[in-house]
């Protein structure tokens, strides 16, 4: 069970708000998409040519007087660093920020071997004094308050220090300057290694990297083998992206390009730590494109709640999970892999287009295959979801038991105590009295067919939540489409297979998808009511992908004119706001269609929802695996909805509807939570 620290959450929320504003300003006048495409291609080519570039770099660097050492793992890298220090009879080392040295636990190793190690980056020094590890790749002490820092400094200096940040910074300068002049060696990381000149590039804001690489008589560069670039022009592309995406700066205060030693001896230790294996892996190779900008952390809803202490082994967040699996072993990544919501926000912000969310799914599969499947999930996905007849039968049984489960407000009764955590913050829905398939065959079917026109045929895939819990959404969607002149056939299938795929049960998920595919007619357009199902269907190949339309996008792109002309004077008479579902916005990029439609329908009754695209915390089985995180996300959403004062919340995803409707009920927030299809139905019918 993860713990959510309200202070840390507030700090990270505040940081993120400022970060987004700075990032937007920093990218103004630049096309982020084309820049990241260019950088992704550069990184991909560098990985393709890694051995060639590495050889070139080593030859050039050694020609300039540097000594390059290749270390296959952490142990070898640490031992080499110690050997260098011993050779030069050095007992004090100063360091600027190096995540690779965190990766190898270099400090612990050197200290155990009698070396005094001093971090000089302010944040790193603070956490070193506090005997902690970084919780953010760019802002390592982000979890500490100024009061914490004052306490840490007071303890270190043996006198009372006030919590004025300017004073704390001045004290750090004085203390660390002494250390830098006393040290026999300085160790830095590197952001890039330039093959054609043998130079390294390092970005810093504090200037400690410049001091550490200049003042002590020995300079050790401690970095990893994938950071190669062919030439400086490529590094300038990196430089255009890195500070902007990392901290919202156009450029950092200092960019150092160091080619060989000047007055000192210079050693460059290049750590592999399974990166060569990762480079050869066709699925996971893109992980090594990472430039460690941390943008994916800054926007990750789970990182923002847990921080780097809980959401890391050493590397943090989603990308950290992937790096951990290879660098520190699968076992270490097991719990981390379950913390991803699969919201795809990280994919959108990644500087080098790493498909982090999809790779986490691939990692879950790898974990299941190599470390064994969790028994309960195996039962659910390999037995129930994979066998749709059994799946349907279980829902039928649940419908039969409905009267026993029902409360007066049409939610499910409270679960026994051990399961209370799943519903503490949200009332759970009951299975509908009749499934959509049953309703379609009885009262609704004739109406729908009578009104339909033969010439415009569609198939509707509702997804299992609409099928079993919210059939009224399916009926309303069909009626709206009928009204616009379409004949709608229902695809009678349950699950799309995504829950199994998402949990790493790819075979089961794709098996379910294959069964669903048999019910799809090649010539038809498929309308979906759930963004997650849409994503899954789009996995079934390019042909099908072009046939599949989310309901909102279909209406907006094909029928906007009809909607506008249908009942021109009729406006929705309730205030309405819109929740942007993760898959709808970050994967399908289809949220704008709903926004535009709602603005047309509601006119001045449309209210902007603050943080409309923040995750509601449902994310399928995530809300069962991590109810405490799900709850915190849901409560943030409820706060925004309450603050909006709207009477209706519109959304596109039945999963979000389940979460938000249940959370509104438990929070006493009286608001209608409706799928866009229901809102359009109330407008058109």
């Amino acid at each position: 069970m993860k713990k959510i620290d309200p202070y840390l959450k507030a700090v990270l929320d505040n940081f993120t708000t400022n970060y987004f504003a700075s990032r937007d300003r920093a990218f103004s006048g630049l096309d982020f998409e084309s820049l990241r495409q260019e950088l992704a291609e550069i990184r991909e080519q560098s990985l393709e040519r890694n051995q060639e570039l590495l050889n070139q770099f080593i030859a050039q660097a050694e020609k300039l007087g540097s000594k390059v050492i290749l270390a296959k793992d952490s142990e070898e890298a640490n031992q080499n660093a110690l050997n260098i220090l011993k050779k030069h009879r050095i007992n004090k080392l100063v360091k600027s920020k190096s995540m690779v040295s965190e990766e190898t636990r270099l400090n612990d190793f050197l200290i155990e071997n009698g070396i005094e190690v001093r971090e000089t980056d302010l944040g790193e020094w603070i956490i070193q004094l506090d005997k902690e590890h970084p919780t953010h790749m760019v802002l390592p002490a982000i979890h500490l308050t100024r009061k914490d820092v004052a306490k840490i400094f007071s303890k270190k200096l043996g006198r009372e220090i006030t919590d004025d940040p300017a004073l704390l910074v001045r004290i750090a300068r004085e203390q660390l300057r002494k250390d830098i002049f006393e040290a026999g060696a300085g160790l830095t990381g590197a952001n890039a290694l330039i093959a054609d000149t043998g130079a390294m590039m390092m970005v810093t804001n504090e200037g400690n990297g410049r001091l550490v690489s200049t003042i002590p008589p020995v300079h050790i560069v401690f970095t990893s083998v994938e950071k190669l670039y062919a030439n400086l022009s490529q590094v300038f592309v990196l430089l255009k992206m890195l500070p902007r995406n990392a901290t919202g700066q156009v450029i950092t205060s200092y960019v150092s390009l160091i080619a060989g030693p000047h007055n000192q001896a210079q050693y460059i230790i290049l750590v592999d730590n399974h990166r060569s294996e990762l480079m050869a892996d066709s699925v996971f190779k893109p992980v090594l494109r990472c430039i460690k900008c941390s943008a994916c952390l800054n926007i990750c809803p789970v990182y923002r709640l847990l921080g780097g202490k809980q959401y890391s082994h050493i590397y943090m967040g989603g990308i950290g999970t992937l790096l951990t699996a290879w660098i520190h072993g699968l076992e270490q990544s097991k719990d981390l892999a379950g913390l991803c919501l699969n919201c795809h926000r990280c994919d959108e912000s990644c500087a080098v287009k790493i498909p982090i969310a999809d790779l986490i799914i691939a990692l879950r599969e790898k974990l299941n295959l190599e470390l064994g499947k969790p028994v309960f999930k195996e039962m659910i996905f390999d037995l129930v979801i994979a066998h749709q007849n059994l799946h349907q039968t279980l829902f039928k049984m649940a419908r039969t038991a409905r009267p026993l489960l029902k409360t007066k407000d049409n939610f499910a009764r409270k679960l026994p105590a051990p399961f209370g955590k799943y519903e503490r913050f949200r009332a759970l829905p009951l299975p509908a009295e009749k499934s959509l398939t049953e309703l379609w065959k009885t009262q609704s079917a004739s109406t729908i067919k009578e009104q339909g026109l033969e010439v415009k045929k569609l198939q509707l895939y509702p997804g299992c939540l609409v099928e079993h819990f919210y059939p009224e959404i399916g009926i309303d969607a069909a009626k709206v489409l009928n009204r616009l002149g379409y004949q709608v056939d229902l695809i009678e299938a349950g699950c799309c297979g995504f829950p199994a795929l998402n949990a790493g049960f790819r075979e089961a998920g794709e098996g379910v998808l294959a069964q669903l595919m048999k019910k799809i007619k090649a010539e038809n357009t498929i309308i979906t009511l759930c963004p997650t199902c849409t994503l899954m269907l789009k996995r079934a190949g390019e042909k099908l992908s072009s046939q599949v339309f989310p309901f909102n996008k279909f209406i907006f792109e094909k029928e906007l004119g009809s909607i506008q002309n249908f009942v021109p004077d009729k406006k929705l008479n309730k205030t309405i706001c819109y929740h942007e579902s993760c898959h709808q916005k970050h994967s399908l990029k289809a949220n704008e269609a709903s926004l535009e439609l709602l603005k047309i329908l509601a006119g001045e009754n449309f209210i902007e929802l603050k943080n409309a695209d923040s995750c509601c915390g449902f994310a399928g089985s995530f809300s069962l695996d991590h109810p405490e995180i799900s709850e915190a996300l849901a409560m943030d959403k409820i706060y925004s909805i309450r603050e909006s004062g709207a009477e209706v919340l519109a959304l596109d995803c039945p999963g979000c509807l389940l979460q938000i409707k249940g959370a509104c009920y438990n929070s006493g927030l009286k608001i209608q939570v409706l799928h866009l299809a229901q809102i359009l139905a109330s407008y058109l019918l």
Partner: protein, 177 residues
Amino acid sequence: MSEQTIRKFTERAGSLGARVFQFTNLSEAENFLSKFFKERDIKSVLVQKKLEKNFPALNQIFQPPVLDFAEAEKAQAGFMLADFGIADTGTIVQFYENDLEKLPGILPLVCLSLVFSEKIVESAEAISGFISRHLAQGKQVALISGPSRTADIECKQEIGVHGPAELIIILIEGKSD
């Protein structure tokens, strides 16, 4: 260099916290420096050798004259000559033949840098080849944009954590000898 590029350089450097003073000739700059050091009571200035070589008159400005590098750590200010300015980021570019040349820009709390308007280019890419050639010869290069800064305590910006808290750019029309 176009006026627009110079203006962009000045604005961007200013937005990063550097202060830019423009002069039409070296003599005006020398007057400014004399006054500046006097007003700030700066008595020890670390001067880059290449600056001394190009502008011998500068020795007369500093009282006492240029420090020995062995005393570098005690200097109140550093004074250096930028090899280039980059307009689109407000950056000054330094090429170093040896580590001692870096000290005026990394040790004191106040750093002043001369830059000639003719040396201001639009973007880093414009001098990419030039920098590469220097790197291939084992020289080191720094792009400096504003003062030393940190946001490590509660994400609040503070300056002067390791390097200069003040970056003063003295922009002179024309080119160096």
